[in-house]
Symmetry: C2
Subunit: 172 residues, 2 copies
């Protein structure tokens, strides 16, 4: 569907968080605590799905995840991945990017209640997750004014991330 990679699928830490194994370990630890506390089952499939999503620096489709989880002779069906993703999204460990039909790891420790803003770069395909109390407040005001009771919020901005703007400037 797309190629990307202009500023590299891994390794660019634009902002606060670092991608890669460190974040993966954090997320897995959080998932284990959460499962412990709530009496849920953090199964192998769910853990491996979370790991695959966390390792990647860009949104992954369910079928991409299935492919990465598959080994010669041991194929993982997409439907299983969807079920694992249902679990992970339900508990705020990964997010679904509606405009891409793809999934990214949750980069904040926020409870499932809060809502995030996703910054999706068209050049490199990376996704940054930020939280703004100010945006939430103005959203809440608008919703209250419309008499609308929100259940879930989707805020996705497509554009060009800072790193890619810099790269483009150099090339010109």
């Amino acid at each position: 569907m797309d190629e990307h990679g202009t500023c590299g699928p891994h390794g660019h830490a634009h902002g606060q968080e670092a991608h890669g194994p460190a974040r993966t370990a954090d997320l897995v630890a959080r998932a284990e605590r959460l499962a412990q506390d709530l009496g849920l089952q953090f199964t192998t499939l769910r853990r491996r799905t979370l790991e695959v999503v966390a390792e990647e620096g860009r949104p992954l489709g369910a079928y991409d995840i299935a492919e990465r989880l598959s080994a010669p002779g041991k194929r993982v069906a997409a439907v299983s991945v969807y079920r694992a993703l249902d679990f992970l999204t339900e508990h705020g460990l990964v997010h679904r990017i509606a405009s891409r039909n793809a999934f990214v790891p949750c980069e904040h420790g926020h409870g499932a209640g809060e809502s995030a803003v996703f910054l999706i770069c068209r050049s490199c395909g990376s996704v940054d997750e930020t939280i703004s109390a100010e945006i939430e407040r103005s959203l809440d005001r608008t919703l209250a004014q419309a008499g609308f009771k929100p259940a879930s919020r989707i805020v996705e901005i497509e554009g060009e991330c800072g790193a890619c703007q810099g790269q483009r400037d150099i090339r010109l």
Copy 2:
């Protein structure tokens, strides 16, 4: 995919705008002016696609539109509808609801530059489009702070609209 209809697919004017033929005529007129001004072709397929989307009180999938445009012996393929929808969304006449893979008519005269907030009701499936300068400001601030250059914005809130909350109160 879903049934809806709890508060009726048509006829509930919650707020400012009225659905139905009046809005349809407005939109078509706007499209004709726009095509005139920019030297674009507002073809029959595009007009009929716009009409179908405008008449419906809820988001329509591309295949639903194709079905409504088809007559016995004169089938309209989904791919043609997609091309018409590309044209219509590009020029701000309809909006795509990313979380539903569906399309709604634009209910504001805003230029394609501004961004809208969509309130999607889980009970009746209706979609309200509102604009809030306050939300735009806080979004802009957050984006500027992140060094992110936005190209398009998606803000979709799922929940329960005022009308459906009222209905539910009555039934309880």
